[in-house]
């Protein structure tokens, strides 16, 4: 078998393993990026020993969960792109405060980093009591890690400069307790977060939201799935509600763009106008 064919076969086996263990169909994901994540998650630069790794994944539940998390819900820095969080505090929240209560949908929360960042931000801005964050993901393995609120201590401690740059108002270490090399986030940060399984490819809208945060998720999808996800978001966002995308994403190529206007804040934030 040639190296290319062997790689294709291994990739196909990995995709089948993912589908059977998670129930998530990745056929409409962006193929190139997905392949790269699978290669990395298999821990190999090529596919030469991948068959052995796949065999191990089939028989080891914990390893299979780790594999699913790394491919389907790769970890994100908690305060990725601090300028976004600054814009959220200074430009978006003044607009959102006009709503009596805030339903926030964090689409593709993965292992929960951004959900906790939002919870901290809403607390510091004094609106946590009337805010509920629905943090959803189709990957059950990622959600179970998100609910734990336990992160690698070094990784979390390294977030301190980004937290400060994001407009953080307290000392970063007040939000977690170090236990045996891990950082356990303060349990009260979970009070206004609902972690729930929801699949953007198959499930329908489940609530009306004033704020939808969907940063750097849609880049993982092919065009058809992007359109599906955008349509789902469009069905869920109320009039004058805000949609936040990653700074490498845009509504420009999508059918729903005419119902949105950009919010001038230096970030990819859009306000639904109709």
């Amino acid at each position: 078998m040639t190296a290319t064919r062997e790689a294709d076969t291994t990739l196909q086996s990995a995709l089948e393993l993912l589908a059977s263990s998670t129930g998530i169909d990745t056929s409409r994901y962006a193929r190139l990026a997905l392949e790269r994540r699978i290669r990395r998650a298999l821990g190999l630069s090529g596919f030469t020993r991948a068959e052995n790794v796949l065999e191990r994944l089939k028989s080891d539940d914990a390893e299979r969960e780790r594999f699913a998390r790394e491919v389907l819900a790769p970890p994100m820095p908690m305060w990725r792109r601090p300028s976004f969080f600054r814009a959220l505090r200074s430009v978006c929240l003044p607009l959102l405060r006009t709503f009596p209560s805030l339903n926030v949908w964090l689409v593709g929360c993965g292992t929960g980093e951004q959900a906790y960042a939002l919870s901290i931000l809403f607390r510091e801005e004094g609106i946590a009591a009337r805010t509920r964050i629905y943090a959803t993901d189709p990957c059950a393995a990622a959600l179970s890690k998100a609910r734990e609120g336990v992160f690698d201590l070094t990784t979390l401690a390294d977030e301190e400069p980004a937290y400060r740059e994001s407009g953080g108002k307290l000392h970063w270490s007040e939000y977690f307790v170090p236990i045996e090399g891990d950082a356990v986030l303060r349990p009260d940060l979970r009070d206004n977060i609902v972690f729930a399984e929801h699949n953007w490819a198959t499930d329908a809208s489940f609530n009306e939201f004033q704020l939808v945060v969907c940063r750097d998720l849609l880049i993982r999808f092919g065009r058809a799935l992007q359109e599906r996800a955008f349509s789902l978001i469009d069905d869920s966002l109320c009039r004058s509600g805000l949609l936040c995308l990653g700074h490498g994403e845009s509504l420009r190529l999508h059918a729903m763009r005419e119902r949105y206007e950009p919010v001038p804040c230096g970030e990819r934030v859009y306000r639904r106008t109709s």
Partner: protein
């Protein structure tokens, strides 16, 4: 779009002034799509696309996900994303850093080669020392990698552009 219509460029941030000069010298009828990834230390707000736009005759685009690759456009990778060449369009990814870099030249070159084959031209620009105008250039294509002189880079690009124009139906 074929291999001869695209040029992939990896530039070390300290060599940015040389790249800006090169891009500013490309004529308005330049038809190759140039896709640039900058790597090395720089701040989040230090935007290569803006720096190139100031002097370029060609349209400079900060890549957004699924951007189609258009002839004569210069595409610049946004901060903290890998850029993947996916045949006629560009995709973004936020995978963990490759060799410490969010903007990986390896990812650009690897996916460019996957999309267009070994013949897609690749230009690596890195400084030799502290002088930002004193750079080392590595040109790669199906014939392999070779060092080229500074003056040769512009001529190679213009030749490739002319060939691409002539190859059009």
């Amino acid at each position: 779009m074929r291999a001869g219509d695209v040029v992939l460029v990896g530039v070390e941030s300290r060599a940015r002034p040389w790249l800006a000069k090169l891009v500013s010298e490309l004529p308005i009828d330049f038809v190759l799509s140039m896709i640039i990834v900058e790597h090395g230390p720089r701040s989040r707000d230090d935007d290569l696309a803006s720096a190139l736009s100031a002097k370029s005759k060609l349209p400079i685009v900060r890549v957004t996900d699924k951007d189609p690759i258009v002839p004569g456009f210069v595409y610049v990778a946004p901060y903290e994303y890998h850029v993947l060449v996916d045949r006629g369009s560009l995709a973004l990814a936020i995978d963990p850093p490759v060799f410490g870099e969010h903007l990986s030249v390896d990812v650009l070159f690897e996916t460019g080669t996957l999309s267009y084959g070994d013949d897609v031209p690749k230009l690596s620009v890195s400084p030799k020392g502290d002088d930002p105008d004193d750079v080392e250039l590595l040109w790669g294509d199906a014939a392999g990698d070779r060092r080229i002189a500074l003056s040769e880079a512009r001529d190679l690009l213009l030749t490739k552009s002319r060939e691409a124009r002539e190859a059009r139906p």
